[in-house]
Symmetry: C2
Subunit: 128 residues, 2 copies
DNA sequence: TTCCGTGCAAACCCTTTGCACCTTT
DNA sequence: AAAGGTGCAAAGGGTTTGCACGGAA
């Protein structure tokens, strides 16, 4: 998978750290993590590379009303979001949905599908 | 279903206009619509009431990285989003997903689920 | 009369972007 | 040397919020 036109230490580091995580960090959370290994990286660069990698399909961008989150596992799979703290976890279910091709009757060229459960995570349940 | 503590002409009008639509407008689109009947309503009021009604479950807030959209039909149902123009449509499929209660093993109190297909709508396909 | 809801505009916050410099090819 | 990628900081865009006023109960 080709990412940009040239390699960059920043991009490789961002991808490496994201893939090492099982959680789904926001851009600024990942920025803080990457900063420990490349002190003067900028937040703008993190945003640029995350968007670039998401658009080439190497990673997943999990959009939301608040801060977006990113998933190093690009295989489509359902998520579970806490509506209190915004945290997103993976769900292990295999889900059978109508395949995108069935939907093209609407005239859409369907490229993917998102499944997201939401609720309140154990941590937010106890402290509120 | 109780909404606020008191009735307000603004809130009733916003809800009425949203329910009359089959599309899923953004806050500012709905603001423009409502303004035709209540010229000096403010965008802030539209935001406040949409959030209030979404939090009580009367309407659906469809979140996204860009502008959020709102759905007058609070019955959960899948959506189809155009990644070019952001427009959201309903899908008529009945989908069988594991019920939220099956997920509470994660310790979450699950309150709902979103299913969203995405792709490029017929209109954006022809003009780009 | 009470105090919730509103209009207005400024503030907020996440994200994007312009520009000069650095790095990869 | 050419030109993509970066750091920095400012701009952008959607949404929220403080405040004084208006209106429902």
């Amino acid at each position: 998978m080709k990412i940009g036109q040239r390699r960059s230490k920043q991009r490789e580091l961002i991808l490496e750290e994201l893939k090492a995580l099982t959680c789904h960090p926001t851009a600024d959370e990942l920025y803080e993590i990457v900063r420990k290994r490349l002190a003067n990286i900028s937040l703008g660069t993190v945003y640029r590379n995350l968007d670039l990698m998401a658009s080439t399909g190497i990673i997943l961008k999990i959009e939301s009303g608040g801060k977006n989150r990113f998933d190093g596992n690009a295989m489509p799979h359902p998520h579970l979001r806490c509506t209190e703290c915004g945290k997103v976890e993976d769900i292990m279910f295999d889900v059978n949905l109508p395949t995108p091709s069935e939907l093209e009757a609407n005239g859409y060229e369907v490229t993917g599908c998102t499944i997201e459960y939401y609720g309140i995570c154990p941590n937010c349940k106890t402290c509120c």
